[in-house]
């Protein structure tokens, strides 16, 4: 189901905060159409890894090649590159001073990728797709957590990204709202979107991901298809981790 085209190539990626080494030479590739789930104990560097991919964290070593361009090169226009990489945050980060419609329209309009009318129409389409067509003119604080996260996904999709990064998208949600967000992500995966997801939802990773990465102590300790990954973990730390999180 995944094409052969390599979308992101990560080589020897390192990141330190002062003397604290968070990423210690991560190397992997993300191919077009892949849904990669990243799991690992808290503080293992999985969020830092994800946030490095669109340079929200600036790597201290190694390279990230996105669509053939080394984005760690200082000369690369980071903003242009980020337009192609959607990101969804744990805390939603919707803009509270704008309506839902304006939240979705902001980037495409201000970056002159769409006219107001086009962006507004696109917002309506996306709201229809995420099942919230009636919320267009409301403000974020009137929505539930699950609705907010769905809007955040729509906002990222409005830029027509080539890849979507999810940083623990359901961790801040009440349990009864996790399902609606996962449903949307499942639908997104089916549509062929390349996705990289840091998550604690093992069931979701097992079901939707095409590949699962286990990150521990700043590096990928194991990666495999979800079937193999969960049924026959090899790394002792992963075995230990899975025995703690899976009931």
């Amino acid at each position: 189901m995944n094409g052969d085209k390599i979308l992101i190539k990560i080589e020897n990626l390192q990141k330190s905060f002062g003397s604290l080494e968070v990423l210690r030479g991560v190397t992997t590739e993300i191919r077009q159409g892949e849904v990669v789930a990243i799991i690992g104990p808290s503080g293992c560097g999985k969020s830092t890894f994800l946030r490095s991919l669109n340079l929200l964290e600036e790597p201290t070593g190694g390279t990230i090649t996105f669509e053939g361009v080394d984005i760690t090169d200082k000369k690369v226009n980071v903003d242009r590159m980020r337009q192609k990489i959607g990101m969804v945050f744990q805390q939603f980060n919707l803009f509270p001073h704008m309506t839902i419609r304006k939240n979705i329209m902001l980037a495409p309009v201000k970056l002159k990728l769409m006219t107001e009318e086009e962006a507004s129409r696109r917002a309506d389409e996306l709201l229809e797709r995420i099942g919230l067509p009636d919320k267009a003119d409301q403000y974020p604080n009137m929505l539930s957590g699950g609705q907010k996260q769905r809007v955040a996904i729509a906002r990222a999709l409005a830029m027509n990204p080539d890849v979507m990064l999810f940083d623990e998208p359901t961790s801040a949600l009440d349990p009864e709202m996790v399902g609606e967000v996962l449903d949307l992500m499942r639908e997104l995966a089916k549509s062929g979107m390349t996705m990289i997801i840091v998550t604690h939802e093992m069931g979701f990773a097992k079901e939707v991901a095409t590949r699962v990465l286990f990150i521990d102590e700043g590096n990928i300790k194991e990666e495999n298809t979800p079937e193999e990954f969960f049924a026959h973990p090899k790394n002792p730390r992963l075995k230990d981790f899975l025995s703690k999180v899976l009931v």
Binding site: N54, L56, D79, R80, R82, Q83, I85, G86, M87, F89, Q91, N93, L94, F95, P96, H97, L106, A107, K110, L111, Q138, Y139, N141, M142, A152, R155, A156, M159
Partner: protein
């Protein structure tokens, strides 16, 4: 008793057109306050942007140092002293309009306080807002303009309003450089009529009314901004 008050009123305000001292003084006070507020906002905003950009990105280090020096000096010395220094030292050897000097002094002074209010407002916005903007491909300036500042403005409005009320009243020390503002106007009347009660009370009442009107306007603006969010 009543006759006495009427006489004093006549003496202080009507005779020799003395009310003109108050009216002209009021005009001066309002002029100085208005332009000082403009300078204060402009300067304060610039300083706040430099300071918070330096704190967020580590750039603009030299400008940031200059801003810090400005804040230290202005906040560390009394406004009267600043006013006197600007008038007698900096412009000591040239003939210069006192109103201009007062505007400059109060504007420079207010800018320091406005800067810290706005910087506090910028730093109080969750960093996630900033990251969300950048992750969509907006650059630093666009993120600031479309996402951060609108939220900052709403949050700092009460503190800014307070700063302007303080400024309005603070201009009353402009008499130190013999600028005939509202307070000085009342004082001139007092020196002519040897009556302190009437002119000074009138001056106090005028300040109070101005502050009340301003507070009302500000309250209305705040409510409008809040309504925007929960309809």
């Amino acid at each position: 008793m009543l006759q006495n008050l009427q006489d004093r009123f006549y003496l202080n305000f009507i005779a020799d057109d003395r009310w003109k001292y108050l009216v002209n003084g009021l005009k001066t006070t309002l002029t100085v306050t208005f332009f000082a507020v403009l300078i204060g906002i402009l300067l304060g905003f610039l300083v706040a942007v430099v300071r918070s950009t330096c704190e967020k990105t580590g750039k603009l280090k030299i400008l940031n140092a200059v801003c810090k020096l400005y804040l230290t000096v202005v906040r560390g010395t009394p406004v009267v002293v600043q006013l006197l220094i600007i008038y007698f030292v900096i412009f000591g050897s040239v003939k210069i309009d006192k109103t201009f000097v007062a505007i400059l002094a109060f504007g420079l002074n207010s800018g320091a306080y406005v800067a810290e209010i706005i910087r506090g407002g910028i730093m109080s916005i969750d960093n996630g807002q900033f990251e969300a903007g950048r992750s969509l491909g907006l650059n630093y300036v666009q993120t600031m303009i479309y996402i951060i500042f609108p939220q900052v403005f709403k949050n700092v409005l009460p503190a800014l309003g307070n700063e302007f009320i303080v400024l309005l009243k603070e201009t009353s020390v402009a008499g130190y450089i013999a600028l005939e503002d509202l307070t000085k106007g009342g004082d001139i009347i007092r020196s002519r009529t040897y009556d302190a009660f009437m002119p000074l009370l009138a001056v106090a009442a005028i300040y109070l009314i101005m502050v009340l009107v301003f507070s009302k306007l500000l309250g209305a603006l705040e409510r409008r901004l809040r309504n925007n969010e929960r309809r």
